[in-house]
């Protein structure tokens, strides 16, 4: 074995030369890159490989989980008691507010009915835990431990107790990939609470910053304005808090103001998140078409009966 290794490298004795191999694998990589960037053909391959490497990825998350588990196991009793008391207080306060919310909801429904405005949809949610955070510095993504087997779909919104965290962008059997609102490629349609101004907020690539782009210099936006989802895109349910304006630069040399916001949700803090099923049931057919369909059914039934 040693003798073999002392020879000089002679690529031609062992198949194609180094250059040939490099060119071959580079072309293969570039081909894959092109196909993956432009088309969706490789998603199934990705799924298969993801399933194979899933156990290893869980293995790497184990040390962190174990440290967390040990910490919570050895947490002191008086800490737990204090936590418990605080949670009770919080629960009572929340319960009182919830009572109000119910009355408000009823009132709102009544008013909407009076005004003949469409009723708001109720969105179903499911809890998920962060499995691990994206390890690519170019992207702001994380993985949660609910996937296609738990009926998660790409496009669903992900929130925590304070606001919007991001959006499910890719679904594996046991995992889903969530792109955070601060990712450079992510855009959320929003509305400013103070004056109802609609806009789109973009991620900045920085973990704690959002950008409100394409707003004219004289746009009615102030520091401290709260942004909530407008629900215009049908992806994010309406009126979820997204962010807060922290910096506005109005330089007349540029056509647009430079507006920086911070996300309200703990985009990089929590472990537990909520996946919101934002796909509402299809709207009802207009009465004329519904009747037409009904009559078709009746006709068919009649035809079946005839012979």
């Amino acid at each position: 074995m040693t003798l073999e290794d002392t020879r000089t490298l002679r690529f031609f004795n062992r198949g194609p030369s180094g250059w040939a191999r490099l060119v071959f694998f580079s072309v293969l990589s570039l081909l894959l890159l092109f196909v993956d960037a432009r088309y969706q053909y490789l998603e199934s391959t990705r799924q298969v490989i993801a399933v194979i490497i899933y156990p290893f990825q869980r293995l790497t998350a184990l040390p962190g989980e174990m440290v967390g588990g040990i910490n919570s196991y050895f947490s002191l009793q008086h800490h737990l008691l204090a936590d418990n008391a605080q949670l009770h207080l919080q629960h009572d306060a929340d319960a009182a507010q919830l009572q109000q919310l119910r009355t408000l909801q009823a009132e709102n429904n009544q008013l909407r009915a009076l005004l003949e405005v469409k009723q708001r949809e109720n969105y179903t949610m499911q809890a998920a835990q962060i499995a691990y955070v994206e390890r690519d510095i170019f992207k702001r993504k994380l993985f949660v431990n609910k996937g296609a087997l738990a009926d998660v779909q790409a496009g669903q919104a992900v929130i925590d107790n304070a606001g919007v965290v991001g959006q499910v962008t890719r679904v594996y059997p046991w995992l889903s990939e969530v792109t955070l609102v601060t990712d450079k490629d992510n855009a959320v349609p929003i509305q400013i609470v103070r004056n109802g101004l609609r806009a789109v907020v973009f991620g900045s690539g920085n973990i704690s910053e959002l950008e409100l782009r394409y707003q004219p210099i004289n746009a009615d936006i102030e520091i401290g304005d709260e942004l909530v989802t407008s629900g215009m895109d049908g992806t994010y349910p309406p009126s979820l808090p997204v962010g807060k304006v922290v910096k506005i630069e109005r330089d007349p040399a540029y056509p647009f103001a430079h507006i920086v916001c911070v996300p309200l949700a703990g985009v990089d803090r929590h472990r537990a998140l909520l996946i919101v099923s934002s796909v509402p049931p299809p709207p009802e057919l207009p009465p004329s078409e519904a009747e037409a369909k009904e009559s078709q059914h009746v006709n068919k039934a009649a035809k079946k009966v005839k012979p």
Binding site: L22, S26, I49, G205
Partner: protein, 172 residues
Amino acid sequence: MRFDMARDREFLLPAGRVFIVLSFVAAVLLEWLPWRGWALALRPDFVGLILLYWCTHKPHRVGIGIGWVLGILVDVADSSLFGQHALAYSVLAFGGLTLNRRVQMFNLREQSVHVFALLLLSYSVYAIVHWQVRGYVAWEYFLGVVTSALLWTPLTLLLQTLRRPRRNPNEL
């Protein structure tokens, strides 16, 4: 089995197939640890380093093909584009194979400089692909080149110690 060439010996040490595979598995697992924030920016490219180690020390065993397959695995785990890491690792493996004879003549610190250059090339390939597809580059990404190059010496020493046969008491 063994020669009495002091410097060259580390390049002649035997390496079993199992050992090579295990080293790659360990590198991949290290890469997949939940890094975040500044640790993520400073994270050394473990897979790249191990790949480079084997490409320079056992060029007959590990080459561009293995680098490419590793790249595909990392691509899926990091949900980067298919072929992004694969391309970077192919270039890295090629660099390692080309400089294989040259690197052997230097001591560990001088090797680190070579490794720095090769890793910079591979990181640049990755960043250029990202720039072409997504349109921007995160510059702190390149910090990883420095930490990786600094890790070359301890990593080489560790792997040499593990590869050294235990039978001979004069070895250590």
